[in-house]
Symmetry: C2
Subunit: 348 residues, 2 copies
Amino acid sequence: MEHPPDRTNQTSHRATLRTIAERAGVHVSTVSRVLNGSESEGSRAAGASTIARIRDIAGALDYTPDPNATSLRTQRTHLLGVLVPRLSDIVLATIYEGVEETAALHRYYTFVANTRDDPAEQRARTEMMLSRRVDGLIFGDARSDVRYVDDVAARGIPFVLVSRHVGDHPAVTCDDYAGGRLVAEHLLALGHERVGVIAGEPYASTGVDRSAGFLDRYREAGLEVPPDRVAHSRFDTAGGHETGARLLTGRERPTALFAVNDFAAIGAMGAVRESGLRVGKDVSVVGFNDVPLARELPVPLTTVRSPMHKMGQRSVELLMQVLAGQDAAPERLVPSLHARASSARAAD
Amino acid sequence: MEHPPDRTNQTSHRATLRTIAERAGVHVSTVSRVLNGSESEGSRAAGASTIARIRDIAGALDYTPDPNATSLRTQRTHLLGVLVPRLSDIVLATIYEGVEETAALHRYYTFVANTRDDPAEQRARTEMMLSRRVDGLIFGDARSDVRYVDDVAARGIPFVLVSRHVGDHPAVTCDDYAGGRLVAEHLLALGHERVGVIAGEPYASTGVDRSAGFLDRYREAGLEVPPDRVAHSRFDTAGGHETGARLLTGRERPTALFAVNDFAAIGAMGAVRESGLRVGKDVSVVGFNDVPLARELPVPLTTVRSPMHKMGQRSVELLMQVLAGQDAAPERLVPSLHARASSARAAD
DNA sequence: ACGTTTGGGCCAAACGATTGGGTAGAGTGA
DNA sequence: TCACTCTACCCAATCGTTTGGCCCAAACGT
């Protein structure tokens, strides 16, 4: 089972334009024009029979152009860089699925890298991507405090944001503010007056907007949520657990918790259980994103569905516009609330 | 906020070997040799002062070599292709995190694509990767029924498998068989005699090995699990739910369910609840992988931890060996069981 | 019959880096 | 002094494509 030390047979009989040109008895530039499609170019380059011959030969040899040679010549790589906090977060993974799929449709390939929301990593990974000469970037990890993307913009590098927005760079997000309001609406309708918010990281527009929408709606209902019932947190289960536990220990225990992320919500459910309370009976819990397992939990989770896959798609399409030199308006996609057993009428 | 229609300023003053050569007053080949490190080459190419001068200039211009030009010349891209069933599966996402991280360490970049376990997609995506001239491939989606990887091997393309194994291609997996035995051991110790297995897809070695280990251990204990208590399933929550529900409706209801995947286990928990039973009281549920949220669930899930991140790492290292022409032995990493509230002593 | 178009190509210069050969001059040994 | 070896470079081909020109012959208009 020794592997061949060199890959000669892999590369040696890879067809190139030259191979085809020789076989067809025409010049390599003719082959290039014919194969490059663009109809008009092709048919101006050769007669119908020559075109057919070239196409046949290319097919038989299953020729694929060498992307390195192409990129070298054209100075565009058809490569996109995607930065996310972490891919093991289902939300980002799903967004990325949309990105990858759509990019492939446009014959683009994507690199993706985790930055852990760490500004140094963000910077480093971006430079790595640029050194690979990507045509454009998609940031899923924009921070409102460390505005690295401003620098990137200043350098004239084409990019879009996804999931989070910052400044007025082109971005595709969920309408998080509206989503937050939906949750408030829901909990108000169920009669919850004392509520807590697990608000996520302060530098991410997702958490910030969701909380803002929620708090605004409560304020409009005449029920200002006091600051000690709004706590920042990490976006994962552990973060939700801690923060949830903290919110539950106040003098007046809230009857409902809104976590700006499903995983934080699951953590919060853990905290509720640990306090000897029942989710959906003693304390309602609402999440955000509607990840697939939300509905499968022992107590199914009420949550706001955000169109993650679609956000990925749209972000690529937006980037295509930017690459074409058009300018691109921010987009916010509309969320919808899905009520399940984790939220119920207030008990008190 | 118009974007510049062309990216002249992005590319125009990108330093090349020539820029540096001119500034330094030497030939471009000299610059190449100096910058290419390799010590011996470098110092044979130029005198100490020239070397310093070149290095300085390159630094000042922050030169990075054009990977397309390099690849065109050297016929190697420093690119790796990674195929997974889907990235929104935390397990694969975590493996990929390990891959990406380790690849970056070796100055390789990775493309990743979802194949949904669909043979046609697998084939198509592989060809896409190859048309991008990747140096090697990592398959996280090998199927034991449609042996596409055999073809890939036959073409002499360097690759390794991760997560699943098939044939005797180089693979990095968890010792799934041992993991299955661990679960059996655990449930036997708790006195469970009637057990059901949610066995995953029949074409994935993960599920197959985990079930086999489990069933073998039960058999050794003199408790053969009847075939109607072993059911294939998809790996996601929905799959676990369905299959769990089916297993629970047999005449003699099992007192424990082993799902070969945490998400299937969560689905099974949903099914248990739906049958009016309590997880960890009436029915024990055990999963596999120990994804982070397993311990945060309302009823924390007993599960087997598989070193997902590490599998990703090791797979890259194995591929590096293959690329170096050495041959590479399969690896199986050892799993460990983590008992939590979802499994308890048998009730009957 | 003669200029002009057009169909059907060919030519060659890039793109940026690598690498197997030179080669001029300085130093060395005999 | 001569042959020789280093040292420190330079030369040029090459990887596979793209693309602005150029060119020849046939057809066409008048």
